[in-house]
Each structure stands twice: as structure tokens, then as C-alpha cells.
Symmetry: C2
Subunit: 319 residues, 2 copies
């Protein structure tokens, strides 16, 4: 018996096969290139068929399929909204994947739900019933486990923590992405640095070496490492926002663990002590002492691993 996990991102599709104990049998990935719409659908169904064929040849069976998507999986219709994949406003992925898989059960969930599911199965949330994965990358989202179950909300869009209100007064800048994401996502870091660079004519540090439009959040982290004063201001702001958001998760959910992951929390994990310190000023103090704040154990494999775990859970529901 084996489980197929797939992690669709904005630029690539990762595939992995696991035993039911979570042991990795194999994994690989393909790039989406310029695919959109049904092209991405065919890439996924193609990989399903190939993986099933391989399994047949290698004499084991794939018994369940889980797919992580970068957006919202609508559990009532089986369709997917994924803003970074052209034409995926309401894409019928469940029907296509089920058709490609024959009689094999298929489950689809959002990437943030899969991240925490992966950590629950094989990472830093093992054995937890209340755990949160705070994913900060280009955007921000949270995968949340309450009483051992994924929090999806009434219409599958729970965990939209990028919209968290953290700073008065309201600004129209928040309308497209939310206050927290505006200030403290990868894009937020780049934007804040850009705004400061425009304002601060006297600054002549490292971040002037590149045209404004080419500066990435990674450049800001590197400048910070080298003691750049403008980068320090930007990162200092972010640490405040990350700490406040972590605090709010602690106060509301009283979780056992909060895992910081996603693209930005590669370079930003070095600030975990600062984030914890900031969080502990704001959070319910008893909950704050009880929680563990840590990085992801799975890194870039959190999504595909969580998809594998979703596949296992789906199978257990059925049998």
C-alpha cells in the first residue's frame, strides 16, 4: 500500500510516494513552464497516470491520492481557486484527478492546510491536537489544527491570516491583500524597503546597488546581515508584525506549537527568538509560556508530505 502526494505551486508540481508510515518511496518535480488552465490539469493527471503505471511495474499499489493547491479547494464542488494559475478560478480538479486515478480516492486541500498536515505526520507537530503553521512567503496564510482537525471554516477559506488587522488606522493599501500581508509578507518587505529608499535621499547603503524594481526580500535580509541601517528598520518592523500575529494565534488557539515556514521564513528563521520575544509581550501570558515556536522540519517538502497525509486520512475515513 502506498500514498501519492502532489504539491502544486505557482511554478512547479512536486510529486511524492509514501508508505502508510510516512516513509518516502520516491519524489520528483516538474515545472509548469508557461502552462495555465487545463494545461496544468493535464500535467497533474499525466503525473497521476505515470505514477500509477510505475507502481504497477514496481509491484505496489497506490491506494489514495492527496493534492495540495496554492489557493482554495472548494469541498462542496471539488473545484479549485488558485490566483497564480491562469484560468483556475473554479477549476474542476477533483473530477479530473478522480478520472485519472480510476477508483482511487482523491482529496484536495489548500497548501496551508497541507503544510500543517505534513508537520503533524512527519515534522514538528507530531502528536499535537492544536497546532499552527504560519506560512510567510510572497503571501501569508495559516494552516490550523483544532482538536486534531483542520480548521477550514464554513466555506474553506479559514486561516486567511494575511488579512489580520494589526495596525490602526485603516489604510486603502490593505484593500488588496490585508494589513498583515501588506506589511510583513515577502512582497511587503520589498515594498517597505522601496518606500523607504524613495524617501531617504541620504541613504547610500547596499540597497542602492540595485535598481529599486529589482530589490527582493532576500536582498533586504542580506543587507540586514551586513548591518545596513535601512534594512534594519524594515526587518525591525516585520519582527513586530510577525510577533503580534504569532501572539494573536497563541491567545486565540492556545496551541501546543506554532511552526514558522514559507519562503520568507527561510532567511527569517534566524529572528525566531526576536519574534518569540515580541509575541510574548502581547499574548495571553499563560498560553505564551505553554507554546513552542519553531521552524518547519520539512521546509519545501511540507506541502507534498501533507498531501500524502491527507491521502492517508482520506483512506482511513473510507476503510
Amino acid at each position: 500500500m502506498a500514498l501519492l502526494g502532489m504539491d502544486l505551486g505557482g511554478t512547479k508540481l512536486a510529486t511524492a510516494v509514501f508508505t502508510e508510515d510516512g516513509e518516502l518511496i520516491k519524489k520528483d518535480r516538474v515545472f509548469l513552464d508557461k502552462r495555465g488552465g487545463s494545461g496544468v490539469g493535464r500535467l497533474i493527471t499525466g503525473r497521476i497516470r505515470e505514477t500509477l503505471d510505475d507502481a504497477l511495474r514496481e509491484n505496489y499499489s497506490i491506494d489514495s491520492i492527496g493534492i495540495s493547491v496554492p489557493g482554495i479547494s472548494r469541498s462542496d464542488s471539488g473545484t479549485v481557486w488558485a490566483p497564480n494559475i491562469p484560468g483556475w478560478d473554479d477549476y474542476p480538479l477533483l473530477a479530473e484527478a478522480e478520472s485519472a486515478g480510476g477508483n482511487i480516492p482523491v482529496v484536495i486541500d489548500s497548501d496551508r492546510a497541507c503544510y500543517i498536515a505534513g508537520e503533524l505526520w512527519k515534522g514538528n507537530a507530531k502528536g499535537c491536537r492544536d497546532a499552527i503553521f504560519l506560512s510567510v512567503g510572497t503571501g501569508i496564510g495559516a494552516g490550523i489544527i483544532v482538536n486534531g482537525d483542520i480548521l477550514r471554516g464554513s466555506h474553506d477559506i479559514g486561516g486567511s491570516i494575511g488579512w489580520m488587522a494589526l495596525d490602526r488606522p485603516y489604510s486603502d493599501d490593505y484593500a488588496g491583500c490585508g494589513c498583515f500581508e501588506y506589511h510583513a509578507s515577502g512582497e511587503g518587505i520589498t515594498r517597505t524597503a522601496g518606500r523607504m529608499l524613495e524617501k531617504d535621499a541620504d541613504y547610500s547603503g547596499i540597497l542602492r546597488d540595485k535598481p529599486l524594481a529589482e530589490i527582493s526580500s532576500r536582498d533586504v535580509f542580506e543587507a540586514f546581515e551586513k548591518g545596513d541601517p535601512l534594512a534594519s528598520l524594515v526587518i525591525g518592523d516585520c519582527i513586530e508584525f510577525w510577533g503580534m500575529a504569532v501572539a494573536n494565534l497563541i491567545s486565540l488557539f492556545n496551541p501546543e506549537v506554532i511552526i514558522l515556514g514559507g519562503g520568507v521564513f527561510g532567511p527569517a528563521l534566524r529572528f525566531i527568538d526576536d519574534i518569540s520575544k515580541e509575541s510574548s509581550r502581547w499574548a495571553q501570558p499563560v498560553s505564551s509560556r505553554q507554546v513552542r515556536i519553531t521552524g518547519s522540519a520539512l521546509g519545501g517538502d511540507a506541502g507534498v508530505t501533507g498531501a500524502g497525509y491527507m491521502a492517508l486520512k482520506k483512506l482511513r475515513e473510507i476503510i
Copy 2:
């Protein structure tokens, strides 16, 4: 078959008997007077015995008991922490109530959990699987239902929304109660009004009629009703904080309904449209359109009704 619900507050103990369909058989209440510690325990066990005796005499059976407490019910030890009841840091209420009830099952939960349970059974959250009761009174807390279950967290202190970080920078004033509660609880309203009165020597409105120390949040609401400018500023601030908090609940939980209740949301319910409008600026926009924001259907009976429902749920777990 009948269920006994009890709602312990800081000043009184309400008791109600329900049929399993939630029909009220009878209710009454007693004041705590100056009782504390085991005096409150004896009051509760006394009421349990009297209610059981009455039931026997009137020829029906009490089959399960639920108790709402103004603090934290520790599910592992069966003890209660209730900051407003002297000596209740770790009070062994479960053991005492079980002993008074004979072989009848007893369940204890926090008031905020009971509020939302009550609304789920007989109020504005009927039929919901994702619902929230935001209770704003002297303090602030949230009773939260996720996937049909109460969110308690790993150590029974989930829903501590009074600690929500909503306004930078951090102030030491938040250390005792949290940012949201500091600004927007009943006490917060009184405190903000007091601070403004001290600062604003030119103000000669209604709120000068009383000594500063005697002004209550109700006075501020009344002054607002009469067009008082200082009261308008205070209430305007509160609406912003309430709206932001409601927004954060919407973005994180994607609930079907958010119910505003508690002492302050008697007079403050008239602002529900303003709060909804403020919330919709901040919240995840799709979730924001899906949620219903409303007042409590049960008012002061939410706690005792929820305790009755907890009793029913406990019984169904067993049988």
C-alpha cells in the same frame, strides 16, 4: 429526562432545568453575597441537591449537569480558576459537584464556551458548525466553535481574544489584560473616557456631572446618545477596535455567524452596523460577505442555556 444547567457569575448563580429538546422547565438564581472559596462551592452543591430533590418530588429525573464558570475549567484536573471568586485559583469543583450529584455526569466549561453552546442549541447559531460568540463586558473573551466542536486549546485557555494585539506600538498598559481588552472592554471604555476627561480641561459636557471615579461605560453610552462629543470620540475608538477584532475572527475562522454579547453589547448593539462596516474594511473579503454578524438571542441566559447544552452533549457521549 431533564438537564440541569448552572451559570456561576462573579455575583450570582443561575440555575435552570431543561428538557432534552431545550425547553425550559424552570429557572432561578441566587446571589453569592460575600461568599468566596468553599462557600461558593457549597452554594453550588446545595443547589444541585435541591434541584435533584425537587425533580424527585415532581416525578422527573435530572440525568446530566452542566456548569458554566467565569474563568478556566481545567479538563485534566477538574479544577476551576475564576479570578473574580476569592480562593478559586484551582478549585476542585468537578469532584464536589459529582459528589453532590450522586452518579449523575457533570461537565464544567468556561462561560465563553457556554455562551456559544447556548446560541448553538437555542439561539442565533442553531445548525452552525463554525460560529463565534464575542463577549464584551468588564472583560473580553470569545467562545469559538470549529467543525462543530468547542475550541478549547491545548490547556483550556483558547478564545482569550482580550489579548489580541490590534494597535502598535506595544504599551506597558497592556501587560495586565491585553491590548484589545485594554481599549474596548467595559473597563476600557471607562478608562479611556477618564483619561480624556483629565486631559481635556475645556470639556464641560454631561460626563462632568459625576466624579471621575464613578463614571461607568453605561454613562458613556448615555452621553453618546445625547450627542456628547467626548463620548463620541470614546465610542468611535471602540467601534474601530471591535470592528478589527470581528474582522480578525472572520479572516481566521471563516465562520457562519459572529454573535456579539456580554454586558457592553447590550447598549453597544445599536452600533452593530458600524462595527460590521469597520470589520468589512479589514477582513478577508469573501469571508466577510459570507458571515452573519448579530446580537445574542439569549442575552443573560446564554451561559445557563449553554451549560444545559453541555450537559446534554456529555450525556450523549456516555450513552
